[in-house]
């Protein structure tokens, strides 16, 4: 068993530098790498390019990095619910590239799986396809989209072991598995680091080969963005 366990978030983030490109798992605030993000805020590195479906909210998630102006460019599919983001984008301080959600997922997966590019129908005929190669297959038009390149991927899982194996919970899974192995170094933080051998090999969502460093997160706020309930009769 190849040991991926590191003792602390400090060790997990060794090598992060200003100017790097990072991937962040999560959908909204669900399944985000809370501890890695907090550490990046503390480290104060800047000029970052961040690939993440969303940009957090004003005071949580990637919003914390935005607040400190650590991010130079965001590549996302949906960036609502964040006033500071909107302000930086409209003022031109922040470079923003918006791409379809499925394209985002698959450009990560392409990097993970060694594909240089994919053909997707998403965005054909829209400004997303401007300047991009398009092509017809079987009477339908597709856009060529390239695999991402990133220095670090920060993902969050429910359970993991020292071999780097990961299991996610519910919709907190989202982009996390697709980003594992899609960057030079994948850093996984987990709610529960369990002894090697206790995870059922059939139930592992991401085999450890896609993860370079794993650590147990100190605590998880797991903030809910849109708490919605129904009343009991």
């Amino acid at each position: 068993m190849i040991n991926k366990k590191v003792g602390s978030v400090d060790d997990a983030l060794q090598g992060v530098k200003s100017g790097m490109t990072f991937m962040f798992g999560g959908f909204g605030l669900s399944g985000i790498a809370e501890n890695s993000i907090a550490k990046l805020v503390e480290l104060g590195i800047n000029n970052l390019t961040c690939i993440s479906n969303n940009a957090g909210v004003d005071d949580f998630g990637l919003g914390l990095l935005l607040h400190q102006k650590q991010i130079k460019k965001m590549i996302s599919s949906y960036v609502g619910e964040n006033d500071e983001f909107e302000r930086q984008m409209l003022s031109g301080e922040l470079d923003v590239e918006l791409i379809p959600q499925g394209t985002l997922a698959e450009r990560c997966r392409a990097a993970q799986a060694g594909f240089p590019a994919i053909y997707t129908p998403a965005g054909f005929g829209t400004e997303v396809a401007e300047g991009k190669e398009t092509r017809e297959f079987n009477g339908k038009m597709y856009v060529l989209e390239h695999a991402f390149k990133a220095d670090f991927a920060f993902v969050k899982a429910w359970k993991g072991d020292a071999a780097g194996n990961l299991i996610f919970k519910g919709t907190a899974r989202n982009f996390n598995p697709n980003m594992c192995g899609a960057a030079t170094i994948t850093v996984a933080e987990v709610e529960e680091l369990v002894p090697v051998g206790t995870l059922d090999p059939n139930h592992i969502h991401i085999p450890g080969i896609f993860v370079q460093r794993i650590y147990q997160g100190a605590k998880y706020e797991k903030r809910i963005e849109q708490r919605t309930v129904r009343q009991k009769n």
Partner: protein, 217 residues
Amino acid sequence: MLDKNGIAKRIAKEVQDGYYVNLGIGIPTLVANYVRDDIEVEFQSENGVLGMGPFPFEGEEDADIINAGKQTITTLPGASFFDSAMSFSMIRGQHVHLTILGAMEVSEKGDIANWKIPGKMVKGMGGAMDLVASAENIIVAMMHTNKAGESKLLKKCSLPLTGVKCVKKIVTNLAVLEVTGKGFKLLERAPGISVEEIQKATEGKLIVEGTIPEMDI
């Protein structure tokens, strides 16, 4: 004239037994409330769940179980969770039968604009571009006109497009229309609404053939 719930109620009639359905934010979300009890339907949310159930009871919310609108949800027996790549495999691979989403504008060719107002609103397209580029059956749920009273059914969209030639059907507060490629074919009128009123609210070409029935909702 229909209200939002009326639009949702009418669209629910389009949902057939055995359909996997993706509901967008806003009016489309309401459609789930009106689907007939005697058919089996499963709702997919592109953030990674199939078999969505109702919102949780207070105190039973789980931050790890949300829908694409970031709302806390529950799941029904037979549900499954999956990653974003697999979620869009369902959508791109046309395994989802019906997509219902809102729009700012629809053109008579079936183009749709619903993600951006340059200089004003730039939230991003989320999964909408994947959905409209792939779904075989797309129904748009929207008001017939915008707040300024201008038609949202246009010859040509003025806003940045989400997808081209993709919308199949539109249900508004005034009418049900089919997008034929040659214009908006009027299928049904909302209760109490005349063909003339619909014509007046439609900037794109409106095709009216024979007598147009009133919706049965």
